[in-house]
């Protein structure tokens, strides 16, 4: 035997790779690959994307649909009214057009309605006009022709009374205005806030549970013993949290981007600038908030000793997330201002405030810093409990025990 035999580790060490110093990267890499190759993850992501894109597509189709209404008329007066109405309707919405169709008599008009070659029939009855349709007339057409009828009648009546339409109408118009110069988009803001809440709630619960499950999987199978002899537990925790955060973050960026593109196709596209800002802030808040939660979920996994224990060890987070979810779209006014600075709640509340335009530039920055501080604390405390409880194999531990216990 030669002396080389006496140093069995040397050839081994020679082949040790460069990432030996960054084992958390290897762990994160595995977490990402496992998640990305998970069929149910891919399917649920695609379904959500289709849902978001579908919303935009449907809205776009709805608003982009151009309609032409054919109105059967029997005389010049009716033709003129329809033409006036058409001009008004097209001015209000260029996708709506109305065109008159001259028919011989009332019977022919009815026949045209029945056969569908005309959508409505404008005719005189007593001293007024009647718009007859097969069923309910189109509201836009009704409004346009109604306005034309009223204008014409007004001008006729005004002439008869020796005055003008303008004189009669003077002072009758009510216009609305807002001091902030904005339009009323409260419904949209509510919906967007709900979307933020829902997205964060779903992603946090879903990925959080996955992190906890993967931690307990390693603990239950004692695979963690093999891993713990190879790398520091801190690196295992870091890799796990990082890998899952990257996936969750990537998913929410994808959803956000598709959502913004979808909104661009809707009537709310004029809100895109403020919505984009809110979405970008949401994504940033999400990243930091999720990181903090991911760490807590990993601890929840370490506290459990079997998959069955997860429900109780993750209960605190589930509860907090439930509150965040509800608070995110129910709280208003001063309360909203306050909660928008509370870590985790701010993920949902602050982007909502940014969207409604009532947050000063420094407010999201401050809220983000507060949450970053919170995340740092959860990472530090979480790492400690994780390390202590992961090697603890006898039964489930409570959070309190996890904090108190000595190293295994």
């Amino acid at each position: 035997m030669t002396t080389t035999v006496n140093r069995p580790d040397q050839p081994g060490h020679a082949s040790r790779s460069n990432d030996a110093g960054r084992p958390w990267l290897i762990v994160a890499g595995r977490e990402i690959v496992v998640r990305l190759t998970n069929k149910s993850f891919i399917v649920s992501t695609l379904v959500t994307l289709v849902f978001i894109a579908g919303f935009g597509g449907f809205s776009a189709w709805q608003s982009g649909r151009s309609s032409t209404t054919t109105v059967a008329v029997t005389g010049a007066a009716a033709t003129q009214l329809v033409e006036q109405g058409s001009a008004a309707a097209t001015k209000a919405d260029d996708k709506v057009s109305i065109k008159p169709q001259a028919v011989a008599d009332d019977a022919a008009a009815k026949a045209a309605l029945t056969s569908g070659s005309a959508d409505a029939w404008l005719h005189q009855q007593n001293d007024g006009w009647v718009l007859t349709a097969k069923d309910a007339p189109d509201s836009a057409v009704e409004a346009a022709i109604g306005a034309a009828v009223r204008t014409q009648a007004l001008s006729t009546n005004a002439a008869a009374a020796g005055t003008t339409t303008a004189a009669i109408e003077k002072g009758t118009v009510l216009t609305t205005d807002r001091l902030d110069g904005q339009q009323d988009d409260s419904l949209f803001i509510k919906l967007a806030s709900l979307a933020f809440s829902l997205l964060f709630f779903m992603a946090a619960i879903l990925f959080g549970q996955q992190i906890a499950a993967s931690v307990v999987e390693e603990k239950q199978s004692r695979l963690v013993e093999i891993i713990a002899t190879a790398i520091p537990l801190r690196a295992l925790l870091a890799g796990k949290v990082l890998g899952n955060s990257v996936i969750a973050f990537g998913q929410v960026v994808l959803y956000g981007a598709v959502g913004l593109v979808a909104v661009a196709f809707t009537d709310y596209s004029r809100l895109l600038p403020s919505l984009s800002a809110a979405v970008i802030w949401f994504v940033v808040f999400f990243a930091v908030g999720f990181f903090a939660l991911a760490c807590l979920y990993a601890v929840a996994g370490a506290l459990a000793s079997r998959t069955e224990d997860l429900q109780s060890t993750t209960a605190p987070m589930t509860m907090v997330l439930g509150v965040v979810y509800v608070v995110g779209f129910t709280v208003t006014g001063t309360a909203l201002k306050v909660v928008s600075f509370i870590p985790i709640v701010s993920v949902v509340a602050m982007p909502g405030r940014i969207l409604s335009g009532d947050a000063a530039w420094w407010e999201p920055v401050l809220a983000l810093l507060v949450m970053a501080g919170f995340a740092a604390v959860t990472v530090l405390v979480g790492e400690k409990i994780y390390r202590r409880s992961l090697m603890q194999t006898r039964g489930k531990m409570s959070w309190r025990e996890g904090l108190k216990s000595a190293d295994a």
């Binding site: 006496n6 069995p8 580790d9 081994g12 040790r16 002899t229």
Partner: protein, 319 residues
């Protein structure tokens, strides 16, 4: 007295290695190791050495403290008192990173393919991806699992999962091996392959510690034994050393009745059955006096030391 072949003097597998300085040897040394679980002292002042190039069998009943000791050696359980030394100095996390370890309870990622997760575990130990892949592929072939490389672990039988677990410990030229019950659940053929694999590691100077309930297997494979009972080491050494430590029994068969042996001085009679006696020699020279007396009384048909089996020794030291 009996042949002292494979002790620390450098005979056997470690021949030629004796020029090494003591602090340089690839030994795992456990010194006065203790572990307290609340009121219970699971491991109490345990000391032994696993020498480089030797297979050391770790024997003991359930709850004797084998797993607790191995977990302390591997650093997955904190030590209440005592030290674990590697090459004569306190062991570090980096040292352990180069160790192959097989925990008591088996488990792998059920949803991940065999090859993928073994390469992953190898990379965590600092083996490069290519080297890990090569080592895993080689081991899979040797353990007859080459075709299952791409299968998910959960689709494998328990015996095959066990083999995958073994590969996780043995791949990539570990500098030491600590294996908790590596043979349990293996069929005889797999036991042989496993034994061959372990021999390859000891032949390149690696210390191997493995625990087992199968005493015959331990006797067949191991250079050394450490017997643990209720948290303490009750015997340690080569199988032959253990035999000399226990009182040797002799079997004496006479032509006539052997009842008189009960009264022979310096002799403890274990059992008398007609002309056959099972006895222990307590005083030096008492066996000569006994034999003279027996020849004086008649014919001696048989007088021979009973070579105790390891399980007899085991029962003796752990009782």
């Amino acid at each position: 007295m009996s042949q002292d072949t494979s002790t620390a003097t450098g005979a056997g597998p470690r021949s030629g290695a004796s020029h090494r300085h003591d602090s340089q040897t690839d030994d795992i040394e456990v010194r006065a190791l203790s572990r307290q679980f609340g009121e219970i002292r699971a491991v109490d002042d345990v000391s032994f050495t696993v020498k480089g190039g030797e297979l050391t069998g770790f024997v003991g009943g359930n709850g004797a403290g084998k797993t607790t000791t191995m977990r302390m050696i591997m650093g997955v359980l904190s030590i209440s008192a005592g030290d674990v030394l590697w090459r004569g100095r306190p062991i570090t996390a980096l040292d352990r990173r180069g160790f192959g370890y097989m925990p008591e309870e088996r488990g792998l990622y059920p949803d991940q393919a065999v090859l993928d997760q073994l390469v992953y575990l190898g990379r965590l130990r600092g083996i490069g991806t290519a080297a890990a892949k090569a080592s895993v592929t080689d081991h899979l072939e040797r353990l007859g699992l080459a075709e299952r490389a791409k299968d998910k672990v959960q689709t494998l039988s328990l015996g095959n999962q066990q083999r995958v677990q073994i590969i996780a410990a043995l791949m990539g030229r570990p500098q030491a091996l600590v294996l908790d019950e590596p043979f349990s659940g293996l069929d005889p053929q797999a036991v042989d392959s496993m034994a061959d694999l372990l021999r390859e590691h000891t032949s390149r100077g690696v210390p191997v510690l493995f625990s087992s309930h199968q005493l015959d297997l331990v006797e067949r494979l191991c250079e050394r034994l450490v017997v643990l009972s209720r948290g303490t080491v009750v015997a340690a050494g080569t199988a032959d050393e253990l035999r000399t430590q226990t009182v040797v029994r002799h079997r004496l068969v006479l032509s006539g009745d052997a009842g008189w042996v009960r009264d022979a001085p310096g002799i403890h009679t274990v059992d008398v059955d007609g002309g056959a006696v099972l006895l222990e020699v307590l005083d030096q020279g008492a066996d000569h006096r006994l034999l003279s007396e027996a020849l004086r009384r008649g014919d001696v048909l048989e007088f021979a030391p009973q070579r105790p089996s390891l399980s007899e020794i085991y029962r003796e030291v752990t009782k």
